[in-house]
């Protein structure tokens, strides 16, 4: 077939273009560097780190729907205490720094959650009181 060179060449070019981001990251050395997150003291009352890493968005969505749609506003944590189902009120009370916790990891994973388009970070004073 006289087209062989063209076809193989085209395939190679296609593969190179498709995998370009990978090579780019390898060259920049960013893949091996995990984001450094500011972690709070103590245990998370809603699940292990593995669970949270994989499923915190599902937890937040469930809370969101329960509060907004069913008026079920509180949840009992693994530590037996009652918490408000609130991203800004409960989660951020311990994970005090959105920039070095939420954003840093989201940037690394290249996801853009829309939470902060509406929800606001709590006032620093409030945090101190909690």
């Amino acid at each position: 077939m006289s087209d062989r060179g063209l076809i193989v060449g085209g395939l190679v070019l296609f593969l190179a273009l498709v995998t370009l981001p990978l090579w780019f990251n390898v060259a920049a050395g960013t893949t091996s560097k995990l984001p450094e997150l500011t972690l709070p003291e103590g245990k998370d009352p809603f699940g292990t780190a593995e669970y949270m890493r994989a499923s915190h968005m599902d937890l937040l969505m469930t809370w969101r729907d329960e509060v907004v749609r069913n008026q079920e506003r509180t949840v009992v944590g693994l530590d037996g205490k009652t918490y408000a189902k609130s991203l800004t009120g409960t989660c951020l009370a311990c994970h005090v720094n959105r920039a070095t916790f939420c954003d840093r990891c989201h940037d690394y994973a290249a996801v853009k959650p829309t939470c902060w388009e509406c929800h606001l970070e709590p006032r620093p004073v409030q945090r101190a009181a909690q």
Partner: protein
């Protein structure tokens, strides 16, 4: 290969139809009710009574409006087209266009009054919403789920009170002073008064009611015969906006 492309497409298409059909069927039977509306006892039927004798809105008082805007991060757009309003002032003859004779209106000619969502018993906005982003709670509050709203604005066409606002632009830069206890909204969703459900949950009265120095705004439970709202409605003549439309508004005006 046992399945050619055509066969695969047929099977895939059929499966999609079955899934869609199941969803539609659920929605038609009871699946639609299971969500949002919970099996809670209707303990309360929230309502507001506005005493026009006490209200000094026409003398320039906007305390209730300012308190609401602060509590809920209501943005302020200079251009009328993009306005977002939860509670605002309206001339009497606009709010009650079909009320009274030309002579009784003399008394109200210069009167302006606060208007807000009526949290109707039979809300047209809820009826038309294609995604249940707005619905009526058992206690009568018409809620908005800003996470779900698709921004079709059908509810705005349906509301006969003009109570709903759309975020034509990003509202956040237009909020005077951000209140971190309440979210702002994002562009492309509809919003309106929520009867301060977030405050009611903590046992507090709505922000507008609390802010009124004249105590012209009274909030309470219509299911409680001893409540202040019931006492006022028993003893004074109250009117509602466009009750003839069958919406069952729950904001009463004492004249």
């Amino acid at each position: 290969m046992s399945m050619d492309r055509r066969r695969f497409l047929e099977v895939a298409g059929l499966s999609a139809l079955v899934v869609a059909g199941k969803r539609g069927f659920d929605a038609l039977t009871d699946g639609g009710r299971a969500e949002g509306a919970t099996e809670r006892r209707p303990a309360a039927r929230w309502a507001m009574v506005i005493d026009l004798r006490k209200c000094v809105n026409d003398r320039g008082c906007t305390d209730c409006i300012a308190a609401c805007d602060r509590a809920h991060n209501v943005p302020h757009f200079d251009e009328r087209a993009h306005e977002v309003k939860w509670i605002w002032r309206e001339p009497f003859e606009k709010a009650f266009a079909d009320h009274g004779s030309p002579y009784t209106e003399d008394a109200f000619k210069s009167k302006s009054l606060p208007v807000l969502c009526n949290h109707c018993d039979n809300p047209p906005c809820v009826r038309v919403c294609p995604v249940k982003a707005t619905w009526k709670r058992d206690d009568g509050i018409v809620m908005m789920d800003y996470h779900r709203c698709i921004g079709c604005r059908y509810c705005m066409a349906a509301c006969p009170y003009g109570a709903r606002s759309f975020n034509w632009l990003d509202p956040r830069p237009r909020v005077k002073e951000l209140n971190p206890d309440f979210p702002t909204r994002t562009k492309g969703v509809v919003e309106m008064c929520n009867f301060c459900e977030e405050r009611l949950a903590k046992g507090r009265a709505p922000a507008c009611v609390e802010a009124c120095g004249e105590q012209a705004l009274v909030f309470g439970n219509l299911h409680d015969p001893g409540s202040e709202v019931r006492r006022l409605l028993r003893t004074r003549h109250a009117i509602r906006r466009k009750p003839e439309l069958g919406t069952g508004p729950n904001v009463y005006y004492l004249v």
